[in-house]
Amino acid sequence: MKTIKNKTIEQIASWIFFAIGMITILCVLVITLYLISSGLPAIQKIGLKEFLFSSTWNSTGSDPKFGILPFILTSLYGTLGALLLAVPVGIGCAIYLSKFAPPALKRCLLMGIQVLAGIPSVVFGLVGMVVLVPWIRSMFHLSDGACLLSAMIVLAIMILPSVVNVSLNALDAVPSEYEEASIALGATKLETVRKVSFPAARSGILASIILGTGRAIGEAMAVIMVSGNVANMPNMFQSVRFLTTAISSEMSYASGLQKEALFSIALVLFVFILLTNTILSKLMKEVQSNDSH
């Protein structure tokens, strides 16, 4: 009797877990289907070429124009700029903490970086708004400091913790024998880091950059607070609008074709994330298989 009861419990448990496992697949399917079905109509009406490559966005005018080239380029430049600022500093910091820093300093700074990683993005936006934007305005004599440069700096600070954390983990995982052997052969620390530690930790460092890219492309609220939010073509010192902020700034009052166009922007953003994810996960696999040879 008891074994039969146990068996049914086991059977039910396995069904439940199977169902739960399917739910994640279902979620992705639902999200993808919804994005495609709601994003395609506007693209059809506007025309793919016009939508992606025309440089004027004037959604509320009497003759509305829906070209998202400025948003795409701004998102690309903004992310690239943030990476250019954050990656050298982040990786340098990770190397220092991993190979040179005294343990107390390492623990203390790591604690701070962990907190920085957890701070909500709107807080970065607020500090950017109050400190960075006025500073950039007076520094470069602009009429308004809310521009692409401010957004790049805020994004760079936001992705810095992920870059430091993940590359630090990778660098810490390099067996110290490798480095000791290199030092024993007469190599300097620089040569050791460049020729031994860095190649051994390559995949982790790459992963940290990927993580930062994802976070920078997807960020909306911090960026909307410091970038000015005007649909200009990207310019360092001009107010700009990102793909993400284009959605959030017009969603609350949009209707009709304008609303549909916003869904299409979300679709474009989704495709971007999908592309970077796939390309970079392939890259990771390559690096990993190279490592194991």
């Binding site: 739960i20 709107v122 600070i157 810095l160 620089l190 993400t244």
Partner: protein, 298 residues
């Protein structure tokens, strides 16, 4: 002839020793200095940001601020509604996301026999965790607010948060499930326990800390979430009884902070909320680190 040659060789050798190692040494020093520079940039940025928010926040946090509610008529500002909304938006999603995430991890690690299905689920959860929150907001708006007719409400926001956070819990739980030695499972099975019994008596107990880490991460993510909630849960700041509150629009702390800073230009209030968010973040990261240290000890 021979002595001269050795002399020349000595000279060459000496000059080589003199120039090359020096050159290398300088390069090395420059490298270390630049690393130190990068580290100090990080340190200064991190700590000055935290200290700046703290200093700006302290004068604004008091009891009236914490327990009041914003009203144009009485000209008061308070964040009690936002605090309550945040609480609902934390507890509600956690109630669903923990069983779902842990369950999916258990399925992947313990039940699923097809490697292709495992990699498919892993791939989809990677996609899920990479999707920007604003896109979640849009989908949540279409799916929950419009398709299920929940309107802009805390409930719709909570359901969106559930979908957003399944991958986080799943990933952390899976990582710690992987570290449970197979001999534990074999031991339990050899004693006659079924698969489910093995899992809930042996396996889950030894990966509790991994699950708690996942929950902490999720709490942090929900606290910081703003874009998705702005579209699904709205930004009203009214005190409601729980049941009505679920079905009406409400701003979490992060969303309220955004509204105060961007829409209303009240930076003092915004910094007050930022200070509270900072304290919560601190608590979470300290708890996570204590947990990590404990797991390592074991």
């Amino acid at each position: 002839m021979i002595p001269i040659k050795t002399k020349e060789m000595l000279l060459i050798q000496r000059s080589a020793e003199k120039t090359k190692p020096n050159y290398r040494k300088w390069k090395d020093r420059l490298f270390q200095a630049s690393l130190w520079g990068a580290m100090s940039v990080c340190a200064v940025l991190t700590f000055s940001l935290i200290v700046y928010v703290a200093i700006k926040a302290v004068p604004n946090i008091n009891l009236d601020f914490l327990l009041g509610q914003p009203s144009y008529i009485e000209d008061t500002i308070g964040i009690l509604p936002a605090i309550l909304n945040t609480l609902y938006l934390l507890l509600g999603p956690l109630l669903f996301v923990v069983p779902l995430g842990v369950g999916a991890a258990i399925y992947l690690n313990e039940y699923c026999k097809s490697a292709r299905l495992v990699s498919l689920i892993e791939y989809t959860s990677d996609i899920l965790s990479g999707i920007p929150s604003i896109v979640y907001g849009l989908v949540g708006m279409l799916f929950f607010c419009q398709f299920f007719n929940l309107q802009t409400s805390i409930l719709a926001g909570a359901l969106t948060l559930v979908i957003m956070n399944i991958p986080t819990i799943m990933k952390t739980t899976r990582e710690s499930l992987k570290t449970v030695p197979n001999s534990y499972r074999e031991g339990a099975r050899a004693l006659g326990a079924g698969k489910w019994k093995t899992i809930h008596t042996v396996v889950l107990k030894s990966c509790r800390s991994g699950m708690i880490t996942g929950i902490l991460l999720t709490v942090g993510r929900i606290l910081g979430e703003s874009a998705a909630l702005l579209l699904t849960a709205g930004f009203a700041q009214v005190l409601n009884p729980i049941y009505e509150g679920m079905f009406s629009s409400g701003a979490s702390l992060s969303v309220a902070m955004y509204v105060f800073a961007k829409e209303r230009g009240e930076f003092d209030v915004a910094f007050g909320i930022a200070g509270i968010l900072l304290i919560l973040t601190l608590i979470i990261s300290v708890a996570a680190q204590i947990l990590e240290a404990r797991t390592k000890e074991r």
